[in-house]
């Protein structure tokens, strides 16, 4: 649906293309019909897994088939030994990885991967993080991958500054790094939290929802950040990401405790003072 160039071709080429598509269509329809009828009959075995594999590799957005796979996997969990289940899920991860290589932007594939990782008897989060590293090295703007990375990092308790250093590396490679700056904007406030909200002793990313963009950042970290982003747009003034980030940064400073305004009323014999933040 996106990025498909319309190419003009001869009548013969058109006819060849038409025959090929007719063949493809027949294969697809047959495979789909078999999957649907097997599912209706309650078939939940490895053979059914094989069938859906064919279709999903080239049609990963066919979400009903991912659903069917999950039903099969859940059933196999109940009739196989734990070691077997581990192996089945590991080969499931390899299958999903192949799907992702062909189509790195399918919601269905990424969701399924997350589902599998959560059900694995012995998940390998290091492997998952490395998958994210590789995927992001091919396309630093793949938001599906970034979202999955955030899950992996949360599940395995990766430290905030390790992730900050990861964004340092990406931003250092000089282009298309809006996603990294965005990630930084969510990490910074966690590292130097100024809010009264209770925090775990080590700033880790083991939280559910980082509603932290409204939080302040301490001055030391802020000045470092200013330098970082200024380097970015002095190196390349057309790097728009840096400008968006800069605007946000300018509003991050801690508010000085000071008087915002004073109101004096002779008649009422009153002075009212407004402070910039609650005074303790």
């Amino acid at each position: 649906m996106h990025g498909r160039l319309k190419i003009k071709s001869t009548a013969q080429q058109e006819e060849e293309k038409r025959k090929e598509r007719e063949k493809k269509l027949k294969l697809y329809v047959t495979a789909r019909d078999v999957c649907f009828s097997q599912r209706k009959e309650g078939v939940l075995d490895e053979e059914a897994l094989q069938l859906t594999q064919q279709l999903l590799s080239s049609n990963p957005d066919f979400s009903t088939l991912w659903n069917y796979r999950r039903e099969i996997l859940m059933h196999l969990e109940t009739v196989r030994e734990e070691d077997d289940v581990q192996k089945i899920y590991e080969s499931e991860l390899s299958f999903v990885e192949r799907c992702l290589r062909q189509n790195p932007k399918s919601y269905g594939s990424w969701h399924h991967r997350g589902w599998v990782s959560a059900r694995l008897p012995r998940p390998d989060w290091v492997r998952e993080l490395s998958l994210c590293d590789r995927c992001l090295s091919l396309d630093e703007r793949n938001f599906h991958c970034w979202d999955y990375r955030r899950v992996v990092v949360r599940m395995s308790g990766v430290a905030v500054d390790q992730e900050l250093r990861f964004t340092d590396r990406l931003i250092g490679s000089n282009f298309s790094n809006y996603s990294s700056w965005h990630y930084r904007s969510t990490l910074l406030p966690l590292l130097h939290l100024e809010s009264p909200e209770p925090l775990s002793p080590t700033p880790q990313l083991a939280k559910t929802s980082p509603r932290t963009n409204s939080h302040r950042v301490c001055e030391e970290q802020l000045l470092k950040e200013y330098e970082l982003v200024q380097n970015a747009f002095f190196t390349d003034p057309n790097d728009q990401s840096a400008w968006f980030y800069y605007r946000w940064l300018l509003g991050r400073a801690e508010r000085e405790e000071m008087i915002s305004c004073v109101y004096v009323s002779r008649e009422e014999e009153r002075v009212a003072v407004c402070f910039s933040k609650p005074v303790h």
Binding site: N67, S176, Y178, F244
Partner: protein, 331 residues
Amino acid sequence: MGTQIKDVVIKDDAPNALILDKHADYIAAYGSKKDDYEYTVSEYLRMSGIYWGLTVMDLMSQLPRMNCEEITEFIKSCQHECGGISASIGHDPHLLYTLSAVQILSLYDNVQALDVDKVVEYIKALQQEDGSFAGDKWGEIDTRFSFCAVATLALLGKLDAIDVDKAVEFVLSCMNFDGGFGCRPGSESHAGQIYCCTGFLSLTGQLHRLNADLLGWWLCERQLPSGGLNGRPEKLPDVCYSWWVLASLKIIGRIHWIDKAKLRAFILACQDEETGGFADRPGDMVDPFHTLFGVAGLSLLGEEQVKPVNPVLCMPQDVLRRIGLEPELLS
């Protein structure tokens, strides 16, 4: 040194007039392509495909050319026991297709063709503890689904079936440093998600929670030298963003921050004079999805040959007036 700006160049001979009749013919013929490969492999989204086709036909005042009875029967056969609706027969129910189905039936003023109470029950059951919505029983969370939930319920007049306050808190937790929204908390801003979240906030009467100037700036920066809009920084322009971005700007009262003439020229250039329909960008293959959003975008820009479109629901205004649904817009 220095980044090249990713953009397209519009050729001099690109279409520059609106050929509405060709688009109507394209859509009218699209449904009969049952032996077409592209058509068949997109079966997983058929309900949305029908919604795109019917809506653009209605916007062009050509809805009667479509087969109302056949479509209504099809929708009925896609409602599952749990109340949810699937994209097509044999597929599993999902919030995305539940919304599309209700939108279609609203065009036909026939939502009673469905078991409405069961639809409401299905949606209610998908709301999570943190206020978010799963797309279906398999648990994928996404702000798109928050939009699908409230839009469907609003069309049915049943918004009170869910915990609106919690739903709002979840969507707001997805607001980013740039004023935009992503799929989940922490996700990068994306025009499609922004459309869903601003539409959501409009339907729940919470637009005042946005930073309209900040978001408006991010949105108008989607416009490229070619006049087209992209979905986020450093991406190519795409006619569907003429909808996601433009509708969002309209909702937050800042549509004048876009160069309308240049955008209109880009949208028109995406037409295919030979086949009818719109493609994502000039010279590419057309499809019903981009055809709807091209025409809807032109409507938002004031195109007189097209009916006024509602920016929140992407449906003709007259349909919503009939239903009595008027989501708030910022001025």
